[in-house]
């Protein structure tokens, strides 16, 4: 089964090509079901590969499948090759699994859209690219997927491009990501120079054996981290993700919550030996950036009123946790949180999509409320997602977040405290969201006029194709924690499974204070989560206290505005100045030379008057001058 690993990305690619040719003929809903089937089939192949891999001993769980030689020039030799190992197959499992659920959901969500089949065209291309990214045997194949998902993200964010905000958001996402891609490219150049290859095996072996110098390892790690910051929306490059919510909600769930945005965390885990070989300040920096992003985004989420914006900032915040884990040497915890986050955040996004669908494309939570009676299944599953993200045991998010906090504590208590405050805020703003959407007074009555075309406006539950994924994801959000339970080595399935991949980078915290007292930390986490929920209920449910939603938070600390202002102001003026310089100075010099030649030629031409007397007098003057020169200067005579 291992040898057919290439089928995993090939199936969505076939879907893409088929829809490209026959998309319009397939039409709605067949194009959607076809695309879903392709990703679903890829899921089953992945399961097969997974089982095959499981049956091998831990050291042998690595299989390279070379398809063809891609870029061979001199000493540079890059294959289009796939690497099937515990890490890539874990990624494939949830990418194809959650991916097919979201495809199915989108069949219902995109109902009636005039570009229905095109949506699935892009979605399948995305799935293909994402699978290339995680299955790549070397940095270049990963980069192919990396840019591919970025491009698909651009297509899908600007899917409703008639809206200017959507078109702008797509462009912004692509360009911001390109800043990160610059880092990845430099890292590839460095790796080629230092190791002679861009294959993970070559790079990681060199890093582990000490063949890679500390300074080079540091440079590679930092450059790849810049790439990861772009793709995974960390400070200072997170800007594009909140805007990306302009895309249809299934896109937000698939790309901007569950899969693509985790690519940076994946990449860091993939090269964990390099991070290990790098200077010690590199992991610390990653932890600090992750931690800062987590807190920063959580504070912004507290004051958002758009149902998807809350989730977007929450995603940025949760990705920050994952980088905190990476920086703390907790790669297993990072992947664990990535998986559980994929479950509950996809669930929350799809739930919000169901709400938006039922509310006739209303996204403002201030115009919602009391929806649980009208949308019972959506409400029920959303509440499970809320409990999971808020960190309430025994839901999935609790376990993964707790593991990260454990490692963060071992790294530095400061990181732990910031992580804990973020957890408090997370519980707080998610509770706020649940209350505003599903409880309280029904505020949509007051706004029914705005939904004019539908006459009497009543929110409605979504169709079955949309509800089925919600139920499945809710189930996973409940039990997902079982992947890795902290009680003993035997309950840590994910750790044992990923061990061959992260053996070098994973930090051993056994014997540290944090590990010895992990049940205390566990209890603290529960208390913090409950405190956040209770606080939020007091403010938004019981209205005992006034909500604290200052404008500065609603506006995201004015960071985005600041950057836009700089780009639109000095940045743009610089560009305009250069264009002016080009037109007037550089080209002006060229035209100036032309004018000078013409002008002086015009003057000289006047001497060619055609009058013999003029020429004769000129000759006369010339003769006299020559004579003077001979006589006076040369002294002849």
């Amino acid at each position: 089964m291992l040898d057919v690993v290439w089928l995993i990305p090939a199936l969505p690619l076939i879907g893409f090509l088929t829809i490209m040719v026959f998309g319009r003929r397939l039409g709605e809903p067949r194009a959607g079901y076809f695309a879903t089937a392709m990703v679903g089939a890829a899921f089953f192949v992945t399961v097969g590969v997974f089982i095959d891999l499981m049956s091998k001993s831990a050291e042998q769980r690595e299989h390279v499948k070379r398809i063809f030689t891609w870029v061979p020039v001199g000493s540079l030799h890059i294959d289009l090759a796939f690497l099937a190992d515990p890490l890539s197959i874990t990624m494939c499992l949830f990418v194809t699994g959650i991916g097919s659920l979201i495809h199915l959901y989108a069949v219902g969500y995109m109902h009636g859209d005039p570009r229905f089949s095109k949506f699935f065209l892009y979605l399948n291309l995305f799935a293909f690219s994402m699978l290339m990214l995680v299955l790549g045997e070397n940095l270049l194949v990963t980069f192919l997927g990396w840019e591919g998902v970025g491009t698909c993200s651009y297509f899908l964010i600007s899917f409703w491009h008639e809206r200017e905000s959507a078109a702008t958001a797509g462009k912004k996402a692509f360009i911001t990501n390109r800043v990160g891609d610059w880092g990845v490219m430099i890292a590839m150049f460095l790796a080629f120079q230092a190791v002679g290859t861009v294959s993970y095996h070559g790079i990681n072996t060199a890093a582990a054996s000490g063949a890679l110098s500390t300074s080079t390892a540091t440079a590679i790690a930092v450059m790849l981290f810049i790439g990861a910051c772009g793709k995974s929306a960390q400070l200072p490059l997170y800007l594009w993700l909140p805007d990306a919510m302009e895309g249809p909600t299934p896109v937000s769930a698939l790309i901007h919550a569950a899969t693509m945005v985790t690519a940076g965390v994946f990449l860091m885990t993939r090269i964990n030996p390099v991070l290990h070989a790098a200077a010690t300040w590199v992991p610390t920096m990653i932890a600090i950036v992750g931690c800062a992003t987590a807190l920063f985004a959580a504070t912004i989420a507290v004051a958002q009123n758009d149902i998807k914006k809350v989730l977007a900032y929450s995603t940025v915040s949760q990705l920050g946790y994952m980088f905190l884990a990476v920086g703390s040497g907790a790669y297993v915890a990072a992947i664990f949180h990535m998986v559980t986050h994929a479950f509950f955040k996809a669930l929350l996004f799809l739930g919000s999509g169901s709400v938006i669908h039922g509310m006739h494309h209303e996204q403002d939570m201030r115009k919602m409320g009391a929806l649980r009676k009208l949308m019972p299944i959506t409400a029920f599953t959303f509440i499970i997602g809320w409990l999971a993200i808020a960190g309430v045991p025994p839901f999935a998010g609790f376990w993964s977040k707790d593991e990260i906090l454990l490692f963060a504590f071992a790294k530095s208590p400061v990181l732990y405290v910031v992580g804990l405050v973020t957890a408090l805020l997370t519980a707080y703003y998610m509770t706020r969201q649940v209350i505003m959407v599903f409880y309280g007074k029904a505020r949509w009555h007051d706004h029914s006029a705005e939904h004019g075309a539908h006459g009497d406006f009543t929110p409605h539950e979504s169709p079955k194709t949309m509800l089925l994924p919600l139920v499945v994801l809710a189930g996973l959000s409940v039990v997902g924690g079982a992947l890795q339970l902290p009680f003993s080595r035997d309950t840590k399935f994910l750790e044992k499974w990923l061990e061959p991949v992260v053996a070098i980078g994973e930090r051993n915290i056994t014997g540290s204070w944090a590990d010895d007292n992990k049940y205390i930390l566990l209890a603290v986490a529960v208390v913090v989560a409950l405190a956040g929920i209770a606080g939020s209920i007091l403010v938004y449910g019981k209205q005992k206290a006034k909500a604290i939603e200052p404008t500065i938070l609603a506006e995201g600390w004015y960071y985005d505005q600041g950057v836009s202002k700089f780009m639109g102001g000095p940045g743009r003026r610089g560009f305009v100045g250069l264009a002016w310089f080009d037109k007037h100075i550089i080209d002006g010099a060229v035209d100036g030379v032309g004018k000078l030649v013409r002008g002086s030629a015009g003057q000289i031409r006047k001497t060619q008057s055609g009058f013999v007397r003029q020429y004769a007098s000129a000759i006369g003057v010339g003769v006299v001058l020559l004579l003077v020169w001979f006589v006076v200067i040369r002294g002849i005579l």
Partner: protein, 512 residues
Amino acid sequence: MQFPILATLVFAPALGAVAISVLSNRRPEWIKLAAILISVFTGGLSIWVLSAFSTADSGFQFVSKHTWIRPWGISWHLGVDGISLFLVVLTGVLFPLVILGIDPHRDHKRYLAWLLLLEAGMMGSFLSLDLFLFFVFFEIVLVPMYFLIGGWGYDDRVYAATKFFLYTMVGSAFMLVGIISTAVLAKTNGAGHITFDLVELADKVSFAASTGRWLFFAIAIGFAVKVPMFPLHTWLPDAHTQAPTGGSIILAGVMLKLGTYGLLRFGVYLFPEAAHYARPLFLTLAVIGIIYGAIAATMQTDLKRLVAYSSVAHLGFIVLGTFAITTQSISGAVMQNINHGVSTGALFLLVGMIYERRHTRQIAELNGIQKAAPIFAAGFMIVMLSSIGVPGLNGFIGEYLVLTGSFLTARWWTVVAAAGVILAALYLLWAYQRVFHGEPDENNRTFPELKLKEAAVLLPFIGIIVFTGVYPKPMLDRIEPSVKALIAHVSDKTGYVEPTVPTPVTGDEVTP
């Protein structure tokens, strides 16, 4: 005697041009048919050369050599190697597409005759292995292009054509002096007689460093104008914008490559010492070109001008790769010659289609075209992504090779140049958003969809874009031997040592 296939590549279009100019104007369909037949024949022949080209031979193939002017050592010397092969093929393929796909609207006869003469000149330039012969073809090329811009161009065509002609001529004047001096000085510097023969000069002659540098700079300035390199680039936006679509495609597709090809063939190969000496200057100008061209492109209001400035940026990558002098960087540069020709050629084709429909190239007057013509927009998107350098399409492979190779010898230049990929996304996506996204207004609502005939012309471009991006190996296999030979030649003459990289550990030992 072997069939003189390379000479046929030059003479077929030249004779075609003559034939067309004597055909009667009363039967325009015959004229068009003749032009199509000749260009398709030439294109077919170039593809035959491609298939018969041996990957084992790093030297010149299909060589034909006949003495022309004996006392001056001038000969008719043609040959093709991995560096020129794909430029010849691109020339062969591009012309039939231009002739078939683009309607000049008036005076077909003269238009087609000039176009075929242009093709002959291009072929001759890429195939010549004699400096004198090369210079003749290099100058011949100017004449038809001058008339194409001046005769079938847009509003400001006369200004643009004159500027193009004069600017290039100034460069050529330096070049001519350089070429003649090289040939004459060769007599006392190793050749024993005056010779214009490229191979003989490169093999036998070695100039004193100072002499070689003067000669190199004289010749290089002609090519630098042609590329064009910053700050000698301002003729390009005017020429591109005012040229008819067919002219722009040829200009961007193959004609600018005379500059980059020339720098490699008559710069690095002929004057290795001087080229090596001049590296910092050329690398710096190349990197400035990349960033400067991209920024200038961002601020253009005319779509065609924007594409023209993007060429300045893209050609900067080629010059960077050329002067970084590593196997990867030069292979990438040679490849990028073709990639840029295909992508930018296709962009000009598409912009031309927009102009045909809307009679404007102003970005501000275009909007919402994706809604009105989704297939057209999709075609534009693929070509644009290739130009941006998205992996899986051709542009990325070339750019990556140039950068990864340049990083070995010119690290900091490369770090800055790589930032050019960010800017490429900026100017193209911004333009795309303004032209294609949004709700179309009154004038753009009826933007006609891509026609079958147009699609037939566009498809070969897209085919090459995708194929080269996914499977560049056949192309690289043909380029690499000649590049390696070139670098060995440089090492021979200058003692330059190409940096090596460690032998990597492969992952194969764990594969069962």
